[in-house]
Protein backbone atom coordinates (compact mmCIF):
# COMPACT_ATOMS: atom_id res chain seq x y z
CA UNK A 1 0.00 0.00 0.00
CA UNK A 2 1.12 3.56 -0.62
CA UNK A 3 3.29 4.94 2.21
CA UNK A 4 1.44 8.26 2.13
CA UNK A 5 -1.91 6.62 2.71
CA UNK A 6 -0.51 4.50 5.53
CA UNK A 7 0.99 7.51 7.29
CA UNK A 8 -2.27 9.39 6.92
CA UNK A 9 -4.15 6.44 8.45
CA UNK A 10 -1.71 6.27 11.37
CA UNK A 11 -1.93 10.03 11.94
CA UNK A 12 -5.71 10.05 12.09
CA UNK A 13 -6.25 6.72 13.90
CA UNK A 14 -3.15 6.53 16.09
CA UNK A 15 -5.07 7.19 19.30
CA UNK A 16 -7.13 4.02 18.84
CA UNK A 17 -4.07 1.76 19.18
CA UNK A 18 -1.30 1.12 21.69
CA UNK A 19 1.84 3.13 20.96
CA UNK A 20 4.06 0.06 20.82
CA UNK A 21 1.80 -1.54 18.22
CA UNK A 22 2.01 1.35 15.75
CA UNK A 23 5.30 0.31 14.04
CA UNK A 24 3.88 -3.19 13.49
CA UNK A 25 0.62 -1.77 12.15
CA UNK A 26 2.56 0.44 9.75
CA UNK A 27 4.60 -2.52 8.54
CA UNK A 28 1.49 -4.65 8.00
CA UNK A 29 -0.36 -1.87 6.20
CA UNK A 30 2.57 -1.25 3.85
CA UNK A 31 2.56 -4.93 2.94
CA UNK A 32 -1.23 -5.08 2.56
CA UNK A 33 -3.01 -5.06 -0.75
CA UNK A 34 -4.38 -1.79 -2.18
CA UNK A 35 -7.88 -3.29 -2.46
CA UNK A 36 -8.19 -3.50 1.34
CA UNK A 37 -7.82 0.26 1.78
CA UNK A 38 -11.54 1.04 1.71
CA UNK A 39 -12.28 -1.72 4.23
CA UNK A 40 -9.58 -0.44 6.59
CA UNK A 41 -10.90 3.11 6.25
CA UNK A 42 -14.46 2.00 6.83
CA UNK A 43 -13.85 -0.05 10.00
CA UNK A 44 -15.31 1.59 13.11
CA UNK A 45 -12.87 1.79 15.98
CA UNK A 46 -13.92 2.34 19.59
CA UNK A 47 -12.60 5.47 21.27
CA UNK A 48 -10.64 4.59 24.47
CA UNK A 49 -11.57 7.93 26.08
CA UNK A 50 -15.28 7.29 25.60
CA UNK A 51 -14.96 3.85 27.18
CA UNK A 52 -13.13 5.40 30.15
CA UNK A 53 -15.95 7.91 30.65
CA UNK A 54 -18.54 5.14 30.41
CA UNK A 55 -16.48 3.06 32.84
CA UNK A 56 -16.52 5.81 35.46
CA UNK A 57 -20.22 6.58 35.06
CA UNK A 58 -21.79 3.20 34.40
CA UNK A 59 -19.00 0.75 35.20
CA UNK A 60 -20.96 -0.66 38.15
CA UNK A 61 -23.46 -2.13 35.73
CA UNK A 62 -20.76 -3.44 33.39
CA UNK A 63 -21.85 -1.16 30.54
CA UNK A 64 -18.20 -0.37 29.63
CA UNK A 65 -17.48 -4.06 29.08
CA UNK A 66 -20.64 -4.46 26.99
CA UNK A 67 -19.59 -1.40 24.96
CA UNK A 68 -16.26 -2.83 23.85
CA UNK A 69 -17.82 -6.23 23.11
CA UNK A 70 -16.81 -8.26 26.18
CA UNK A 71 -20.35 -9.48 26.79
CA UNK A 72 -19.36 -12.28 29.16
CA UNK A 73 -17.35 -9.97 31.38
CA UNK A 74 -20.15 -7.40 31.22
CA UNK A 75 -22.61 -9.90 32.64
CA UNK A 76 -20.11 -10.99 35.29
CA UNK A 77 -19.67 -7.36 36.30
CA UNK A 78 -23.42 -6.75 36.29
CA UNK A 79 -24.39 -9.67 38.54
CA UNK A 80 -21.59 -9.02 41.04
CA UNK A 81 -22.46 -5.32 41.38
CA UNK A 82 -19.31 -4.18 39.58
CA UNK A 83 -17.21 -6.96 41.10
CA UNK A 84 -18.11 -5.80 44.65
CA UNK A 85 -17.00 -2.29 43.69
CA UNK A 86 -13.38 -3.44 43.33
CA UNK A 87 -13.45 -4.48 39.68
CA UNK A 88 -15.26 -1.22 38.89
CA UNK A 89 -12.26 0.78 40.15
CA UNK A 90 -9.68 -1.62 38.68
CA UNK A 91 -11.34 -1.20 35.29
CA UNK A 92 -10.71 2.57 35.31
CA UNK A 93 -7.10 1.63 34.62
CA UNK A 94 -7.66 -1.42 32.42
CA UNK A 95 -10.47 -0.32 30.14
CA UNK A 96 -8.42 1.94 27.82
CA UNK A 97 -5.90 -0.83 27.18
CA UNK A 98 -8.72 -3.33 26.64
CA UNK A 99 -10.39 -1.01 24.12
CA UNK A 100 -7.14 -0.59 22.19
CA UNK A 101 -6.69 -4.36 22.23
CA UNK A 102 -10.17 -4.78 20.72
CA UNK A 103 -9.35 -2.19 18.03
CA UNK A 104 -6.21 -4.02 16.99
CA UNK A 105 -8.16 -7.28 16.79
CA UNK A 106 -10.66 -5.57 14.52
CA UNK A 107 -7.87 -4.26 12.28
CA UNK A 108 -6.33 -7.73 12.12
CA UNK A 109 -9.65 -9.18 10.96
CA UNK A 110 -9.71 -6.72 8.06
CA UNK A 111 -6.08 -7.22 7.07
Amino acid sequence: MDANKVDMFIMSNGKFFEGHHLPQIRERLLQADESKWSMIQMAQYKDPTISLIVSVIAGQLGIDRFLIGDVGLGIAKLITCGGFGIWWIVDFFLIMGATKEKNIMKLQQVL
Binding site: Q60, V71, G72, T80, C81, F84, G85, I86, W87
Partner: protein, 136 residues
Amino acid sequence: MNRKSFYILFSVVCLISYVWLFFNIQSQSTSTHTLSVCMFKNITSVPCPACGTTTSVLSLLAGDFQQAIMTNPSGIIAAFLLLVIPLWLLNDALFKKASLFNFYVKSENFIKQKYVAALLFTAVLSNWVWTIIKEI
Protein backbone atom coordinates in the same frame (compact mmCIF):
# COMPACT_ATOMS: atom_id res chain seq x y z
CA MET B 1 -9.17 -11.74 26.42
CA ASN B 2 -6.59 -14.48 26.60
CA ARG B 3 -6.81 -17.74 28.48
CA LYS B 4 -4.44 -16.91 31.33
CA SER B 5 -6.11 -13.64 32.36
CA PHE B 6 -9.52 -15.34 32.10
CA TYR B 7 -8.54 -18.03 34.61
CA ILE B 8 -6.87 -15.52 36.94
CA LEU B 9 -9.89 -13.21 36.85
CA PHE B 10 -12.45 -15.95 37.47
CA SER B 11 -10.44 -17.48 40.32
CA VAL B 12 -10.08 -14.09 42.00
CA VAL B 13 -13.78 -13.21 41.58
CA CYS B 14 -14.80 -16.61 42.99
CA LEU B 15 -12.46 -16.21 45.95
CA ILE B 16 -13.71 -12.70 46.73
CA SER B 17 -17.31 -13.89 46.41
CA TYR B 18 -16.75 -16.68 48.95
CA VAL B 19 -14.95 -14.31 51.35
CA TRP B 20 -17.81 -11.83 50.98
CA LEU B 21 -20.38 -14.56 51.62
CA PHE B 22 -18.49 -15.84 54.65
CA PHE B 23 -18.20 -12.30 56.03
CA ASN B 24 -21.93 -11.81 55.59
CA ILE B 25 -22.84 -15.08 57.31
CA GLN B 26 -20.60 -14.06 60.22
CA SER B 27 -22.10 -10.60 60.56
CA GLN B 28 -25.62 -11.99 60.16
CA SER B 29 -25.30 -13.97 63.38
CA THR B 30 -23.69 -11.14 65.38
CA SER B 31 -25.60 -8.05 64.25
CA THR B 32 -28.50 -6.94 62.08
CA HIS B 33 -26.48 -4.21 60.41
CA THR B 34 -25.45 -5.00 56.84
CA LEU B 35 -22.65 -3.31 54.94
CA SER B 36 -23.44 -1.97 51.48
CA VAL B 37 -20.53 -2.02 49.01
CA CYS B 38 -22.76 -0.99 46.11
CA MET B 39 -21.49 2.45 45.08
CA PHE B 40 -24.47 2.90 42.79
CA LYS B 41 -26.85 2.57 45.73
CA ASN B 42 -24.69 4.59 48.09
CA ILE B 43 -24.48 7.49 45.65
CA THR B 44 -27.94 7.56 44.09
CA SER B 45 -29.93 5.69 46.80
CA VAL B 46 -31.55 3.75 43.96
CA PRO B 47 -30.74 0.01 44.07
CA CYS B 48 -28.73 -1.43 41.17
CA PRO B 49 -29.87 -4.57 39.28
CA ALA B 50 -27.65 -6.78 41.45
CA CYS B 51 -28.70 -5.33 44.82
CA GLY B 52 -30.15 -8.03 47.06
CA THR B 53 -28.13 -10.86 45.52
CA THR B 54 -26.27 -11.51 48.79
CA THR B 55 -29.50 -11.51 50.81
CA SER B 56 -30.99 -13.86 48.25
CA VAL B 57 -28.07 -16.29 48.46
CA LEU B 58 -28.22 -16.14 52.27
CA SER B 59 -31.92 -17.03 52.30
CA LEU B 60 -31.19 -19.81 49.81
CA LEU B 61 -28.59 -21.15 52.26
CA ALA B 62 -31.24 -21.04 54.97
CA GLY B 63 -33.49 -23.10 52.67
CA ASP B 64 -36.03 -20.39 52.01
CA PHE B 65 -36.39 -20.69 48.24
CA GLN B 66 -39.42 -18.40 47.94
CA GLN B 67 -37.77 -15.61 49.92
CA ALA B 68 -34.68 -15.95 47.70
CA ILE B 69 -36.72 -15.43 44.53
CA MET B 70 -38.70 -12.57 46.05
CA THR B 71 -35.50 -10.74 47.09
CA ASN B 72 -33.66 -10.99 43.79
CA PRO B 73 -33.90 -13.88 41.29
CA SER B 74 -30.29 -13.28 40.24
CA GLY B 75 -29.26 -14.75 43.61
CA ILE B 76 -30.29 -18.18 42.31
CA ILE B 77 -28.02 -17.73 39.27
CA ALA B 78 -25.20 -16.43 41.48
CA ALA B 79 -25.51 -19.40 43.88
CA PHE B 80 -25.50 -21.83 40.95
CA LEU B 81 -22.42 -20.19 39.39
CA LEU B 82 -20.65 -20.15 42.77
CA LEU B 83 -21.23 -23.89 43.06
CA VAL B 84 -20.25 -24.80 39.51
CA ILE B 85 -17.38 -22.47 38.58
CA PRO B 86 -14.89 -23.37 41.38
CA LEU B 87 -15.35 -27.08 40.64
CA TRP B 88 -14.93 -26.44 36.93
CA LEU B 89 -11.81 -24.34 37.56
CA LEU B 90 -10.40 -27.12 39.72
CA ASN B 91 -11.17 -29.68 37.02
CA ASP B 92 -9.40 -27.56 34.38
CA ALA B 93 -6.42 -26.99 36.66
CA LEU B 94 -6.06 -30.70 37.52
CA PHE B 95 -6.45 -32.11 34.00
CA LYS B 96 -4.75 -29.15 32.25
CA LYS B 97 -7.72 -28.49 30.00
CA ALA B 98 -9.39 -25.26 28.87
CA SER B 99 -12.99 -26.47 28.85
CA LEU B 100 -14.33 -23.56 30.95
CA PHE B 101 -12.64 -21.01 28.71
CA ASN B 102 -13.97 -22.69 25.56
CA PHE B 103 -17.45 -22.81 27.10
CA TYR B 104 -17.16 -19.11 27.99
CA VAL B 105 -16.21 -18.16 24.41
CA LYS B 106 -19.06 -20.26 23.00
CA SER B 107 -21.68 -18.84 25.36
CA GLU B 108 -20.43 -15.31 24.71
CA ASN B 109 -20.96 -15.79 20.98
CA PHE B 110 -24.41 -17.23 21.71
CA ILE B 111 -25.38 -14.21 23.83
CA LYS B 112 -24.12 -11.79 21.17
CA GLN B 113 -26.96 -12.89 18.85
CA LYS B 114 -29.47 -10.10 18.45
CA TYR B 115 -32.59 -11.81 19.85
CA VAL B 116 -30.85 -13.51 22.78
CA ALA B 117 -29.24 -10.21 23.75
CA ALA B 118 -32.58 -8.37 23.53
CA LEU B 119 -34.27 -11.05 25.66
CA LEU B 120 -31.56 -10.88 28.32
CA PHE B 121 -31.64 -7.09 28.30
CA THR B 122 -35.40 -7.09 28.87
CA ALA B 123 -35.04 -9.62 31.68
CA VAL B 124 -32.39 -7.56 33.46
CA LEU B 125 -34.32 -4.33 32.97
CA SER B 126 -37.60 -5.75 34.29
CA ASN B 127 -35.75 -7.26 37.25
CA TRP B 128 -34.21 -3.86 37.91
CA VAL B 129 -37.62 -2.15 37.84
CA TRP B 130 -38.91 -4.79 40.24
CA THR B 131 -35.91 -4.19 42.53
CA ILE B 132 -36.58 -0.46 42.58
CA ILE B 133 -40.29 -0.99 43.34
CA LYS B 134 -39.46 -3.40 46.21
CA GLU B 135 -36.98 -0.83 47.60
CA ILE B 136 -34.32 -3.30 48.73
